[in-house]
């Protein structure tokens, strides 16, 4: 599909980095603040949609995105099944353990003045699942927009 005007392309170039940083913030802070994997993934996915509308969908790899989507889902399900090692499905085996992945203990309210405050490196499998869902939603939404764009222009450019 054709590229759009220089105004649109410049605005998308300027907005790319702040929107990506905001989406990554929403995904990484999913266990602390409102938002999470789906919301941050939808933000970065809409960023990808803006990029595709402005620059065209020719240079994008559908197989890579499809693999990322399947990989995110596999990580999510695998994290759930790994909880069976500790005896329960979706057991949070990373929280407060020795494995250095999001393993800090959640602080009690006593040491802090604000009750919502907690370090980022907490949450255990919740944070891992948020990251997996974020990657999966980014890949899935980008794939949907690419498919719609190529389908809409198939008659004009031959797909």
């Amino acid at each position: 599909m054709e590229r759009m005007s220089p105004v649109v392309r410049t605005v998308v170039k300027i907005a790319f980095a702040p929107m990506f940083a905001f989406g990554a913030y929403i995904i990484l802070h999913g266990h602390l603040t409102p938002g999470g994997g789906f919301q941050g993934g939808a933000i970065i996915g809409s960023l990808m949609a803006l990029y595709l509308v402005a620059f065209g969908a020719t240079a994008w790899k559908k197989k890579l995105l499809s693999g990322l989507e399947s990989g995110g889902l596999l990580v999510f399900i695998g994290t759930g099944i790994l909880g069976l090692v500790s005896g329960l499905m979706f057991y949070n085996f990373l929280a407060d353990s020795d494995i250095p992945i999001f393993n800090e203990a959640v602080p009690t309210m006593l040491g802090y003045t604000h009750s919502n405050w907690a370090p980022l490196w907490t949450g255990g499998t919740i944070s891992v699942m948020n990251l997996a869902v974020g990657i999966e939603v980014i890949a899935g939404l980008t794939l949907i927009v690419i498919t719609m764009g190529l389908f809409a222009f198939e008659g004009k450019e031959g797909g």
Binding site: S46, A49, M148
Partner: protein, 88 residues
């Protein structure tokens, strides 16, 4: 005596609700489909503001990202694949 902050809060809420209804009516009334899509995006943005007012910031983020940007992009792709004016 009316509390000033409560009045401002309710006035903002009412204006957002009126804006939702007005933009939804615009979506139905416009014959230019690109204009109707932009009105739909505005409706989505106001709905996400309404979610924020009703203390659901989680839903508001998802609604703003999906409703205001992704749906608009997909609708614009679909309109580019067909005709721009609605026939009536």
């Amino acid at each position: 005596m009316v509390e000033w902050t409560t009045f401002l809060y309710d006035a903002t809420h009412l204006m957002v609700l009126i804006g939702i209804v007005a933009s939804a009516l615009m979506v139905v009334k416009f014959k230019d489909l690109i204009s109707a899509t932009i009105a739909l995006a505005a409706c989505s943005l106001l709905v996400s503001l309404e979610f924020l007012i009703l203390q659901a910031p989680d839903v508001a983020i998802a609604e703003a990202a999906v409703g205001a940007v992704l749906t608009t992009a997909i609708f614009i792709f679909a309109i580019k694949g067909s005709r721009r004016r609605e026939e009536y």
